[in-house]
């Protein structure tokens, strides 16, 4: 049957039409096919890119919060979560290296600032509170009568620091519950005056915990640092002596009438 079928099929093809330009037509079709495939590939790539972009946008929109939650501010009691001392605060930037050198942390203490004043909390390496540091700036054009701790109404003899800064340091540990190291310093060229006070923890009944986080020498170093005078804004100043919004210093800065 095999040979017979082959012979039979030959006769079936008797009416075969002649070939025309089928060969060229094949190559024309091949070129069209390639173009269509290229276009389909590009279209598919565009669709894929669009899908990826849309998916990324949708995921970003869905997964990321619309509004970033406000940064929590360390509270006085949150000592274990104390922020690093090196933060973008010019006053703090001056104090932080001194505090860090004592293996402690310093961070803003709410209410942490006002016009002409700042206050900070100090914690030791275990996160236990070690009191506060308060800094205020005043503008005193006339000569200043630096108070005497033990003799109200008298003027203290001042000491001098470079850059025309006169100052008086006050160390007071008479009250075990309120031990302070304070300095009042005035730049005589423009009357700009700063007060810095370090205080230990109050109301603990523990004299060691009531010791200020900074020593008297460190407070003096800070208060006579000429950079401290310029860390506050030019228009910033406290107006009332240890009252109002400004910190209450152990030795108030006399502002005159």
């Amino acid at each position: 049957m095999t040979v017979q079928l082959n012979r039979l099929l030959e006769h079936v093809l008797d009416g075969e039409p002649p070939l025309g330009d089928e060969i060229d037509a094949v190559f024309r079709r091949a070129d069209r096919l390639r173009r269509r495939r290229t276009q389909a590939l590009i279209a598919a790539a565009v669709v894929v890119v669009a899908v990826v972009v849309a998916t990324g946008y949708a995921l970003t929109t869905l997964l990321m919060p619309a509004k970033v939650a406000s940064t929590p501010v360390a509270s006085a009691g949150a000592f274990s979560a104390a922020l690093p001392s090196a933060v973008a605060d010019p006053v703090l930037a001056l104090i932080a290296p001194i505090v860090d050198g004592r293996k402690m942390h310093i961070y803003p203490r709410p209410p942490e600032r006002g016009s002409g004043w700042r206050q900070y909390s100090i914690a030791d390496r275990d996160g236990k509170p070690r009191g506060t540091v308060e800094v205020a700036v005043y503008s005193i054009a006339d000569d200043l009568c630096f108070p005497v701790l033990a003799a109200p109404g008298k003027c203290a003899k001042t000491r001098w620091a470079p850059a025309g800064i006169e100052y008086v340091r006050y160390d007071d540990d008479r009250d075990p519950d309120w031990q302070t190291h304070q300095i009042i310093a005035r730049r005589i060229t423009d009357g700009r005056t700063v007060a810095v006070m370090a205080t230990g923890e109050r109301g603990t009944g523990d004299a060691s915990r009531a010791k200020p986080g900074l020593t008297g020498a460190q407070v003096e170093q800070l208060g006579t640092d000429r950079r401290l005078f310029d860390t506050f804004g030019a228009s910033e100043q406290c107006f009332a002596p240890s009252s109002g919004d400004c910190p209450a210093f152990k030795v108030p800065v006399p502002l005159g009438d």
Binding site: L8, V12, E16, L19, I23, V26, A30
Partner: protein, 158 residues
């Protein structure tokens, strides 16, 4: 040959006539056979240019048979002589009619084995069948064809 247009042109020139005849035996229409053959060879050329064709003969016949099989899924007993063709012998018409009464895959096995002369291995590769299936299709197809032809001749003479 892949990607070489001269080689591809030689391949197309040498295979076009054979492929068109095989397509005609599969579909029974010279015009349709020409169309299917052109499309098949265009795919061979395009895929060869991008290096996707290992054996162009296997690729071409496999593609052509699959295309014809899809078009003839419904067994249509149609034979269309070419325009202007001379008289076609009654035996030829009977043979074509009998061939088209077979299932497309069975018909493809007979065409590839008995007209194109491929061995069973090549046919199994072209039609994606194992050797046993090819042999079974061939035996059954030849027997059915013989019976159909006998019946048709008996009808003609009777």
């Amino acid at each position: 040959m892949s990607g070489d247009d001269d080689g591809l042109r030689d391949f197309v020139t040498s295979r076009l006539k054979h492929l068109r005849r095989s397509a005609f035996l599969m579909c029974g229409d010279w015009k349709l056979a020409t169309e299917l053959t052109e499309a098949c060879l265009a795919r061979v050329v395009a895929d060869s240019r991008r290096g996707a064709v290992a054996d162009p003969d296997v690729y071409a016949y496999a593609d052509l048979m699959e295309t014809c099989r899809r078009r003839n899924r419904r067994r249509e007993h149609v034979f269309v002589a070419s325009a202007g063709a001379g008289g076609v012998a009654a035996e030829s018409i009977l043979l074509l009619d009998a061939l088209h009464k077979l299932a497309p895959r069975c018909r493809a096995v007979l065409v590839l084995r008995h007209w194109d002369g491929f061995d069973a291995d090549a046919v199994s590769a072209m039609l994606d069948l194992d050797d046993e299936r090819v042999a079974a299709y061939e035996r059954a197809g030849l027997a059915a064809l013989e019976r159909l032809l006998t019946d048709s001749e008996a009808a003609l003479t009777g």
